[in-house]
Symmetry: C2
Subunit: 379 residues, 2 copies
């Protein structure tokens, strides 16, 4: 049920079959190094989120650059990362149901694994699975620091759950999960800072209560690509969980810096390469990349390097490059590079990464072909 | 890189792991029978579109009910259908590039295969691939009947391309592709009828010119789930290409019938079954189905059977069932059935179908577990 890869190692760039998910390896490596340097300088740990890349190959590069491990969102995603050699995985999410929890317990025999909980019943279910397996499961309490999604209220309610975890012989209290996901895409720095200041204060207060209760949290995790420097320099968070930084979504570039210019902490390093398959009129180039190739939940992907062009009206297998406001014209078969608006769900549509060295140069060629190992890992 | 299936044949409904893509087999069979009966009554052929289900297992049920074959949108999709026993496939789309065309030519040795073209250069490329393989390729001319996507203009421009196809020894002229995709989701019957009347007239005029040129089209194909009865009773179209009818998108139910009630030509037969994984407050149930489980390009999926509930704010792996306007409350671990807003890209996110007999009854159980064989078939 997997497609064969669209390229082989050594192929020149022009030989890649389309549509293909192409990594600019040089840009990705610079992104990995940049966040690693920030973490080193700031004295905070880095645990990048694998839900962006879904690839143990890329995860190992992050670990080699100093990351303590990876975050995952599902047990099956964690299984894929451990199978690919990642030794330390935090499932930064709630997991419920005996079948999934038994798999999590089994995984705890093979790697350092932790999971989050925000509810008494959920903690009892994790404790029961850990007791069945005979291996303790490290459990973090997720607090809602403004995302209004999962998480118990900060402060005493969180401390009560931490006490419950600590009281169960089959569990080990691992700390706090405190991710403010809604802050990541707030457009101005002022908005992002206000949201994260609130999250930091709620987290700081909870950490103090936990310490007073004799339950100092080993991990205080959170932060994303849009705000990592704020949590990272807070003195409260101990682990940064940014994921998208490795590729940098087009939607993140719609954020603004303090000076109002586009947010550019990282470089775009991921492209969907598509080809013109129909050219009914010169200003409408139909490409072979539609909803099954590019996600559109965060807006349209953006054509790179064609002034005035826009990607419009995607259908299952078609996208249109609208050139009505551009001076450029495209030929049948010509290639177009799209910057994904949201990399996580776009990556999830593909079976393979094609890693290109020297992207954008005459010597651009395929250096890596990696499976998207945790594609479809929804369980 | 595929996930193990979330259920086994014989499992009771409650044992299916979540999130899962579940077919109500009884409803799907009624949908298949209903369109087959319309085709028989009207004297038009049926060639359902496989881009909805991506499954030769379901395609074979459609053929068993009288369909002449299937449509596909990509060569790789056609390969998956032929591998699964479908003997007659029309790639109802343009294909460009020697690598893909050589695969299409190879497929022509194993099944009855046809493809579309809207451009001189594209026709010459297909002719060259067919000449290389030594097997003629049946080629249809796609005309733009109002979708404003691919397709040459109806009338003389289409006839000129048909002449070119007929003049090439390695090609066989197969007819016209005349799909008005934009008409399918126009909300009122009046709007849909106006759009399809225009498409029918453009197609009729082109057919007459082709006949006068000594090139009568064997296939005049088009139509979708929203308008099939209009093209089907036109006397112009010979093959209907509806795909979504097999499952019936939530978005199609937002269309209106002549009397203003929701469009109900077919029944919803596909669900994403998800579980509540976090319940921070009673009116916000967080489920384990987000952007990697449900597509949102045609709006949000709709929770079934919970008055006043809405699916909101999907993120990669989370969805929220907002119960603030509902009297129902959900428990941790409780299951929710979502009707996909757009089945085609939703199906593409999953590795497996779980076919349930007696859906919604106490005896509901798993009767089929089918791979989504052409998931990710983007090449």
């Amino acid at each position: 049920m997997s497609m064969p890869p669209p390229a082989r190692v050594g192929d020149p760039f022009a030989e890649i079959d389309t549509p293909a998910l192409v990594i600019d390896l040089d840009a990705m490596e610079r992104n990995i190094a940049r966040l690693a340097a920030f973490a080193t300088t700031t004295g905070v740990k880095l645990r990048p989120h694998a839900k962006t890349h879904k690839s143990a190959d890329i995860g190992r590069l992050q670990v080699a650059a100093g990351a303590v491990g990876l975050c995952c969102q599902k047990v099956s995603e964690a299984e894929a990362m451990v199978a690919g050699g990642i030794a330390d995985v935090l499932v930064s999410n709630e997991v419920f149901g005996a079948r999934k929890l038994d798999r999590l317990a089994a995984l705890s025999r093979r790697a350092r694994v932790a999971v989050c909980a925000d509810n008494v019943e959920a903690i009892e279910a994790i404790a029961a699975a850990a007791a069945r397996s005979g291996v303790p499961i490290t459990t973090l309490v997720e607090i809602d620091v403004g995302a209004n999604r999962c998480g118990v209220a900060p402060g005493e309610p969180a401390v009560a759950l931490a006490r419950l975890i600590a009281s169960r012989p089959s569990l080990s209290f691992g700390g706090l999960q405190a991710y403010q996901g809604r802050a990541q895409h707030l457009r101005t720095l002022g908005e992002r800072r206000a949201a994260i200041d609130h999250a930091i204060e709620a987290t700081r207060r909870t950490v103090e209560l936990l310490k007073a209760a004799g339950l100092p949290p080993a991990i205080v995790g959170g932060a994303g690509t849009g705000t990592y420097d704020l949590e990272g320099s807070s003195g409260v968070y101990t682990e940064l969980q940014a994921g998208s930084y490795v590729f940098m979504d087009a939607d993140y570039a719609r954020n603004k810096r303090a000076d109002g210019r586009p947010y550019d902490a990282f470089e775009h390093a991921l492209y969907v390469i598509a080809s013109v398959m129909s050219l009914p009129v010169p200003e409408r180039a139909v490409i072979d990349a539609g909803l099954k190739t590019c996600s559109t939940d965060a807006g349209m992907p953006e054509p790179r390097g064609i002034d005035g062009a826009a990607y419009i009206r995607p259908s299952d297998e078609h996208g249109i490059i609208d050139l009505s406001k551009s001076n450029r014209r495209l030929a049948l078969g010509e290639r177009v590079a799209l910057i994904p608006s949201h990399c996580d769900p776009t990556v999830n549509l593909h079976d393979w990464y094609v890693g290109v060295r020297g992207y954008g140069t005459a010597s651009a060629h395929v250096e890596r072909v990696w499976p998207v190992a945790a594609r479809g890992a929804i369980f």
